[in-house]
Symmetry: C2
Subunit: 329 residues, 2 copies
Amino acid sequence: MTDGLLDVVGIGNALVDVLSHAEEDFLVKEDLVKGSMTLIEADRAESLYGAMGPGVEMSGGSAGNTMAGLASLGSKGGYVGKVRDDQLGRVFAHDLKAMGLEFTTKMEAEDGEPTGRCLILVTPDAERTMNTYLGAATMLTPDDIDEDQIARAKVTYMEGYLWDREGAKEAFRKAARVAHDAGQKVSLSLSDSFCVDRWRDEFLDLAEHQVDILFANEDEIKSLYQVDDFDQALQHVRGHCEVAALTRSEKGAVIVSGDEVHIVDADTAGRVVDTTGAGDLFASGFLHGFTQGMDLHRSGQIGALAAAEIISHFGARPETVLSKLVMES
Amino acid sequence: MTDGLLDVVGIGNALVDVLSHAEEDFLVKEDLVKGSMTLIEADRAESLYGAMGPGVEMSGGSAGNTMAGLASLGSKGGYVGKVRDDQLGRVFAHDLKAMGLEFTTKMEAEDGEPTGRCLILVTPDAERTMNTYLGAATMLTPDDIDEDQIARAKVTYMEGYLWDREGAKEAFRKAARVAHDAGQKVSLSLSDSFCVDRWRDEFLDLAEHQVDILFANEDEIKSLYQVDDFDQALQHVRGHCEVAALTRSEKGAVIVSGDEVHIVDADTAGRVVDTTGAGDLFASGFLHGFTQGMDLHRSGQIGALAAAEIISHFGARPETVLSKLVMES
């Protein structure tokens, strides 16, 4: 199925996650900053993988996880991102299509860079530390943007992680233009405070001029506006984006839109096993509610529900049919 | 490390598992027998994978799982099995080595059959139904048996699944001969009642003449001796093997050795999420106890403990350090 209206198209770094349990001292030994995402090259990926414990492989990528969450919630969606036509690339493609998502981005040929992967170390405190070898994911260009697909989607969503290579930036700018020309919305997740540090001016420009719905956690939004206080950051962003969904881990989330401010409690009932994908799945839930025409508060609640499911188990793709959880909530 | 004494060397079909949740009606539609293992060819693997939901990939293979369990229990071990030098093959090799296991079997070249995989459908009742595309795993020959490695191991353990191709049978016969010549033990798991049906005479011959420690579940041992009654089967096997460890799911296990019979309760305290690997991990625990010189009853208890851990989560490799569980038990 490659026609009909879509709720969300996600654009991101297409990655296969390699998840492994690790002790704190492993992070120290490997000089890793807990909770962060670090880009690594092929040789470092090789040596770090060699040092890691046994792993579990599953499709990942921030926007990919968000789209998987949306599909599990019953939304219609598409994904844009580059893999190679190799075993892991075929796994990535299968997992999207198996959830009913459109995925038509041309795969890189077998002699190119391999499908990217994210080495994720989960410490006993359930925190995840990510090391990403982008591989084929870096090959995204504006040619990979299907204008018709973008125009069909209520929201075009991009992960901030992608904002690195010029080709990907151009792809996003093109998608944003097409979306707005079609009267649709553009959404961005700031992804990581290191990303924000690196591209602050460009992210500020995006927030002011391109992004209708912004996702950020507390660190990211404070970093974006270079303020120490969450409320100050909130006052800044309300003037820039139509909607901002700001997550604060166990403190829940704040949704702000013009004069409206909604406080959404975190769903803290369950056990926290692995925080990988919490932000991605909050975005799934929020965008699901938003594109179904629910109010901002309810959309935030569905975000919190989806985030709670994902942190209750190992891995960043839902293990439960999220639409059932929503019905029961 | 490729020297020093080993507790167990496992020989098996080297496979990467692709685990996916499935509803009962999917099994019906795909004409699958719940709880069984079916060998499939490449084209069927392709079409079944295409029909399956999103998956999680992790190293598997029955003897591979058993060795991972042994490593997690603190035993020293090695593994023999064939993968191709492809992405999934490298994942398989990494996961064994990351647990400290010896794995020196030569990988097949990139132009051979790809690394084998087992498509595992887990139904809501936690039962697993397996469809195995053997791929490179079929390439095992006696040349892959390192005589020195076998001679260094207290037990050489083989999965019954492997008893199919002539090369693998020859490899096992060679390993058994080397082990016995070195004064070590030979162990076999019957793996699946379909395997027993297919190779009953050869398995009977093995049980009588080659195997010191036999693992079987109730269906398999009854099928081996073509009897309807578990106790009859038990009387047969005590005359053939030095030790037989017979598992009976939630009814626990019976360990029989000559005149000794030990009843071991199943560890039924926890939630059952996915039964994949239950038999494999029972073998881990039993062989760990056995090679550490524990008595048969205690060895069986460790088997039950390891099996209980594996069925409490998705996937057939331990998520917990099993040696800690044993210490706490």
